[in-house]
């Protein structure tokens, strides 16, 4: 290898090819022992393979020598610590080292006083104090007991609090999860996991001292549940609730986890980037993805939706994108805009297989009523030229599973711009889909129809990615309200950054209303 003298390469024999994958890992403890023995026996009489093995051994030495941490460090530790401590001292509105704000939701910045007054305000303060003392001290044991903020505390202008999922345990209790960022948060490092709790008619919030965002929550009961999400590059965020407090759990998990569904206290599933995880009551374990997807090798796989019918059958949806590389010998640097392809995975017989792939779509969520009836919500994507560049246009997409196949079906938003996000089916004659903005679709067993929701105070309205229906008569939707310019902060490059606050809508006996509105 390199510039060393080598004897001429002999030609490989028929058997040599069967060991080609073994030579690079011959001495690895994880290589099959029988295969290793077989390979060594062949090696004893094959000069071609001896040359191959020698090449790999020389390559290992070079990698270790030239790519390992050799020579003096490039940076001084004192400079690294100086930068680190300066950044740490600049931590703003939601610092991990300070008592976290626990407040009733400031539904509209500056207007939170409207829904609390007098004794109700006092009761809310007491509820929040108890909640904060219970949740917060478990999460940050080294803090002093946090002082309960005024229930009318408002978010600083430019703050961005998103709700991504909601799970109602009963008509009187539920949880919502999301993220909270202070104004001017950049790069996601200042984003913190956000929990909201509904109890006794009031929603209250706690920002956790954990960097990242919670994307999904699944409650087995009032005293057992899981919330999952992502931390900024560190790995998956896994939180477990035991009826007393939320605890962070660490395990062998990937970067982003988008959806969790618990079947019981000892059986749960979660999906995310290049991963499906299963919980068996003791630990979360990675499950093998279908090899044909090339996850992490030729393609990046983003799994977004999950619907398990039982411990033996379920469905997962998402999208797949090729991993781009420059094309050798051309000017193609692999940077062309590519569109995702939707994937539908089916779990049966103890393994996941690719059921269907759809061209240029993203599949956001799936809800199965039975093994032969289900729905998928998503969007189609198309490249359209605009101003000399290519932009991606999105359009809502709805699929129905019948007769063993997923087929596109008509829905009231076909041909419009946008997407269908979260689908929830209560029965064969009752279902809901969130569609962005103040719009839902409702299914009555025959067709989907539009349901217009109450307008918010701001002209930009709200987005509702999350839905939890308790019954045909009651449910909740959760999302984020975008403020007008006067409630936001100016952008240095023009325009403004809105203040984004959590919003919750309550469905009761046929009518939707904005909580606190």
């Amino acid at each position: 290898m390199g510039h060393q003298h080598r004897t001429p390469q002999l030609k490989p024999g028929a058997q040599c090819f069967s060991f080609a994958e073994v030579w690079p890992v011959l001495n690895e403890p994880t290589t099959d022992t029988d295969l290793t023995a077989e390979a060594r026996a062949h090696l004893a009489s094959c000069t071609y393979c001896q040359g191959q093995l020698a090449d790999y051994e020389r390559l290992d030495l070079k990698i270790h020598r030239y790519l390992g941490p050799s020579g003096p460090p490039r940076y001084r530790t004192e400079d690294i610590m100086k930068d680190l401590l300066e950044s740490a001292s600049e931590q703003p509105a939601v610092p991990p080292t300070a008592p976290l704000v626990s407040a009733a939701i400031p539904l509209r910045p500056g207007r939170a006083r409207r829904f609390l007054s007098g004794l109700a305000a006092l009761a809310a303060v007491l509820v929040i104090s108890v909640l904060a003392a219970t949740i917060f001290t478990q999460v940050a044991p080294h803090r002093s007991t946090p002082s309960a903020s005024s229930p009318t505390a408002t978010l600083e202008k430019g703050s961005q609090w998103f709700l991504w999922d909601i799970a109602m345990v009963s008509p009187s209790e539920g949880w919502a999860v999301g993220e909270a960022s202070p104004p001017d948060a950049q790069g996601g490092d200042l984003t913190r996991a956000l929990l909201m709790h509904y109890q006794h008619g009031t929603w209250s919030s706690v920002v956790l001292p954990i960097q990242g965002r919670l994307k999904s929550i699944s409650m087995i009961s009032a005293t057992d549940g899981w919330a999952v999400g992502q931390t900024n590059g560190v790995g998956a965020l896994l939180l477990h609730y035991d009826g007393q407090s939320w605890k962070q759990v660490f395990g062998p998990t990937p970067a982003d986890t988008a959806r969790v569904q618990m079947l019981s206290a000892t059986d749960g599933w979660a999906v995310g980037d290049d991963s499906i995880l299963h919980y068996d009551g003791h630990a979360w374990q990675n499950q093998p993805l279908p090899a044909s997807l090339g996850a992490g090798t030729t393609h990046s796989v983003s799994l977004l939706g999950l619907s398990m019918l039982s411990s033996a059958e379920g469905w997962v949806v998402g999208f797949i994108m090729p991993i781009l590389s420059p094309t050798p010998g051309t000017t193609d640097n692999g940077s062309a805009t590519t569109l995702p392809d939707g994937i539908i995975l089916h779990y049966t017989g103890g393994q996941w297989t690719v059921q269907q792939m759809l061209h240029h779509v993203t599949l956001n969520s799936v809800a199965m009523l039975s093994a032969s009836d289900g729905w998928i919500a998503g969007r189609t994507e198309a490249l359209t030229p605009a101003d000399g560049q290519q932009t991606v246009s999105l359009s809502p997409l709805l699929l129905h599973y019948a007769g063993g196949q997923w087929v596109e079906v008509s829905q009231p938003l076909a041909g419009t711009s946008g997407e269908l996000q979260q689908v929830v089916l209560l029965s064969p004659t009752d279902g809901w889909i969130t569609a962005g903005g103040n719009l839902l679709l409702h299914y009555n067993g025959t067709a989907w129809s539009k349901v217009t929701l109450p307008k918010a105070a701001s002209t930009h309205g709200y987005a509702l990615p999350a839905l939890s229906m308790l019954s045909a008569h009651e449910g909740w939707a959760a999302g984020s309200l975008f403020s007008d310019a006067d409630q936001g902060i100016p952008n240095p490059t023009g325009g403004y950054q809105p203040t984004i606050t959590p919003i919750l809508l309550h469905y009761l006996n046929g009518a939707w209303s904005i909580y606190g509105g």
Binding site: H3, V25, G296
Partner: protein, 191 residues
């Protein structure tokens, strides 16, 4: 998997202990990131982000940045955090991989030199990095962690969140591809 009940008391790391930990691992961490993302400036930022996250964890008394945990545990945490940050950074770049084909061609044209000379070290290192850039990020990371940074196969699996079988496959694939690219651009002297 371990679960840390956030109600349990823990002994926080002192600033001196944390600084010592940074000193012990910063060279390896920045080298790993530099080889993974092929951009020295971005690698420094990612390393800094990793240490900042570790610092916040140490202030919050979270494993493994408490006095009770071992340096090995911290090293694994740092590399795991760095790996995921590197992969996320590469995803945000739309996974565009740049390679210095010119450098590889230069390498092939050079006459044989003493491999210990400074010039040869630089050329060898850059040739390997250029060849590494032809791998997928996950395969490159697996190779770097196992061979360049001496993590065990089990530790590599923990850092990358994959099973030992997947580590083995990635390692085999990475070395085969690296060897093919490296050999294709190296002149041979046949005696």
């Amino acid at each position: 998997m371990h679960e840390r009940s956030l109600a349990m008391p823990a002994t926080l790391m002192t600033l001196a202990a944390f600084t010592e930990m940074v000193d012990r691992h910063q060279h390896a961490l920045s080298t790993f990131l530099r080889d993974l993302v092929s951009d020295a400036e971005q690698a420094y930022d990612l390393m800094q982000d990793t240490f900042q996250e570790a610092w916040r964890a140490s202030r919050a008394g979270v494993d493994p940045f408490i006095a009770e945990c071992s340096d090995d545990q911290r090293r694994r945490w740092l590399f795991q955090a760095a790996y995921h940050r590197g992969i996320s950074a590469l995803r945000r770049r739309k996974l565009i991989r740049w390679e210095s084909l010119d450098l590889l061609h230069e390498m092939a044209a050079k006459p044989g030199k003493d491999a210990d000379s400074f010039e040869e070290q630089v050329v060898e290192r850059e040739a390997l990095r250029a060849a590494l850039a032809r791998l997928t990020p996950q395969d490159a990371a697996c190779l770097l962690l196992r061979v360049a940074h001496d993590f065990s196969a089990a530790e590599v699996g923990q850092i990358m969140g994959v099973s030992p079988t997947v580590v083995n496959k990635r390692l085999s694939r990475a070395k085969q591809r690296l060897r093919a690219v490296y050999l294709a651009h190296n002149a041979e002297e046949v005696g």
